[in-house]
């Protein structure tokens, strides 16, 4: 368990600036999620923390110790890769115990620690198999087991769930959250999926094009996005964002309202529009409305709300839920 502190991290690849001055504090025991569109530099930042990549400039402290120049093994970290990176020629037991055997731990200690990790992840019955004989979800657990067994101070995850199907992914989200509660370790988790960020994080770091847009708890980001990028990125469906007259009306450059913060009425309301398209999801429905003065407006309504494409409708933003930039 340890804090992670990044100071003014810059990274260039062949003269191309990928990270442009990252300052960040991750607290002890925190579940911190880096989220951002793909290619924004999340993995690069994580790899710099892990020591797989050197920063061009800036410093990294883990547990109060400057580790900028340290090898990965001396940083007290463990990492779970998107591809799992299990050693194909080793059994599950040897995969999990690989780091310990490199560290020349006694045989029986390795066995006990591997057994304990396997128990926590319900892998006991699979210990003698090779990775190719495991399902995607099981491989994922082995990869996590390999991290747990080393008892690192900081866990690093690089999009660990992106190779799983939707059902397994939501199950693993819960398991990882529970694991975090059990181990109470600092975890840094990279994803491009804002749902993962919202559901798992204590702290979300939104990255965009190599810099931090905003840091905060999930609800802070939802209610108080500080930039249009964060406003558009967090929340699904995306927030409606409009320039022009409506923004001027509020003395701003950009006016935003979330789809769930609009009320529809067949008779009256602030904006009159024509229903173009309805995505029925059951519990709720996403309605796309063309409003003359704004353009396309997306509204989330109750699934039972009766509405037909082509009909005229009125939309009204809820009081105090508007965002101005």
């Amino acid at each position: 368990m340890a804090t992670v502190r990044l100071k003014n991290i810059h990274k260039e690849f062949n003269g191309v600036k990928i990270l442009k001055g990252i300052d960040l504090d991750v607290n002890d025991g925190e579940f911190c999620v880096f989220v951002g569109p793909s290619g924004c530099g999340k993995s690069t930042l994580l790899r710099i923390i892990s020591g797989l990549e050197d920063a061009t400039s800036g410093t990294i402290e883990i547990g109060g110790k400057d580790v900028t120049k340290s090898d990965p093994i001396d940083r007290g970290i463990a990492m779970v890769f998107q591809s799992y990176a299990l050693y194909p020629h080793l059994t599950v037991r040897d995969n999990i115990g690989f780091g310990l055997s490199l560290a020349k731990r006694p045989k029986n200690e390795i066995r006990e620690r591997v057994d304990a990790a396997a128990k926590m992840l319900q892998l006991e019955s699979l210990l003698d198999r090779k990775p190719k004989d495991l399902s995607g979800g099981q491989r994922q657990r082995v990869a996590i087991g390999r991290a747990i067994v080393r008892e690192p101070e900081v866990f690093l995850f690089d999009e660990p769930l992106s190779n799983l199907d939707a059902a397994l992914r939501s199950k693993m989200r819960i398991e990882l959250t529970e694991l975090h509660a059990t181990l109470n370790a600092t975890m840094i988790y990279v994803t491009h999926d804002q749902i993962e960020a919202m559901t798992m994080a204590d702290k979300i770091v939104v990255l965009n094009a190599g810099h931090i847009e905003q840091v905060g708890t999930p609800m802070e980001l939802y209610h108080h996005p500080q930039t249009p990028f964060v406003a558009g990125f967090i929340g699904s469906p995306k927030m409606n964002l409009f320039e022009g007259a409506i923004a001027k009306e509020h003395n701003a450059d950009l006016y935003g309202i979330r789809p769930e913060h609009l009320t529809l009425s067949p008779k009256e309301g602030k904006w009159k529009g024509v229903v173009k398209h309805i995505e029925q999801l059951g519990a709720d429905a996403i309605v796309h409305i063309h409003v003359e003065s704004l353009g396309m407006l997306v509204v989330r309504v109750d699934g039972d709300f009766s509405i037909t494409a082509g009909s005229t409708i009125y939309a009204t933003p809820q009081e105090g839920k508007e965002h101005l930039f």
Binding site: P72, I73, M79, S83, A85, L86, Y87, H89, L102, R146
Partner: protein, 274 residues
């Protein structure tokens, strides 16, 4: 299978057997004939089968030279291949994993090894300077040098298919670079290693030119050199010469029977991507 295909197949089989099998039947028959009959050179059935007599005579010739030759060829082949596999895998690994401005240059050197005929006399001069001329270990190192390019290319293209994540996972697990290679990468190279072993062992075992230049003298005779030596000695005993050819053909035949697929894969590697 259509009727036409069957007919064509039979015709092709007959022609194929005629062209590609008769020479081996000729070798086999001549090897078991008497000297007088063998000198007729025909495909006729031997009037008496002298398989054992001829075998023993060939083995005993020149003070059991053939046995010594088998021993030497085995030492050279096994020694060269062990060194070749380890050193070529290490080179293939580094140049695949570590792109740098040197890579073009290294690649050119590798291709040079595939293309340029070795400069024999200067090599002999150098081997003499290093006291490696006429020694088995000198021959082993020569075979390593000459087989390196091909092996490195095979290893390099196989290593490209191993995800880098594995190296990084091992580094995170605390592996030193040599541990990443020997504990994680090398065990995964088994299929391509088998290919390299098979192709190179056929090449090295069958090599005639290099032992001719670098291993003169009868103490270091190799299997292929015995053929050449016996060619003049046995000119009146064709049966023994052909028995020798038969014996020399056996090791590749065994390899062929057991590992045909892998050998074919290794020798045709690169055909697809060009």
């Amino acid at each position: 299978m259509k009727r036409q295909q069957i007919i064509n197949g039979v015709i092709a089989l007959v022609i194929g057997v005629l062209i590609f099998v008769t020479p081996f039947i000729f070798i086999g028959l001549t090897a078991v004939k008497s000297a007088a009959e063998a000198s007729q050179l025909g495909l006729s059935w031997p009037s008496e089968w002298l398989f054992w007599d001829n075998l023993v005579a060939v083995i005993q010739a020149r003070n059991y030279m053939l046995l010594l030759a088998y021993f030497n060829s085995t030492v050279i082949t096994v020694g060269a291949i062990s060194l070749l596999v380890i050193s070529a895998a290490m080179i293939g690994y580094v140049i695949q994993r570590r792109p740098s401005k040197w890579n073009g240059f290294i690649y050119a050197l590798i291709l040079a090894g595939l293309m340029i005929p070795p400069a024999v006399v200067p090599t002999i001069w150098l081997l003499k300077e290093l006291h490696l001329f006429k020694t088995l270990h000198g021959m082993i190192l020569i075979q390593v040098a000459y087989g390196l390019s091909f092996s490195v290319l095979l290893f390099r293209s196989f290593i490209a298919s191993i995800p880098r994540d594995l190296d990084e996972a091992a580094i995170i697990d605390g592996a030193k670079p040599w541990q990443v290679f020997f504990k994680v990468i090398l065990p995964l190279l088994k299929p391509v290693t088998v290919t390299v072993i098979l192709v190179q062992s056929v090449t090295i075992f069958n090599d005639f030119t290099n032992p001719l230049y670098y291993l003169p003298g009868k103490d270091n005779v190799t299997v292929q050199l015995t053929l050449y030596n016996f060619q003049s000695q046995f000119s009146s005993q064709m049966n023994l010469l052909f028995m020798n050819i038969l014996l020399v053909t056996i090791p590749p035949l065994i390899m062929f029977i057991f590992f045909n697929k892998q050998i074919v894969k290794g020798m045709t590697a690169g055909a697809v991507k060009g």
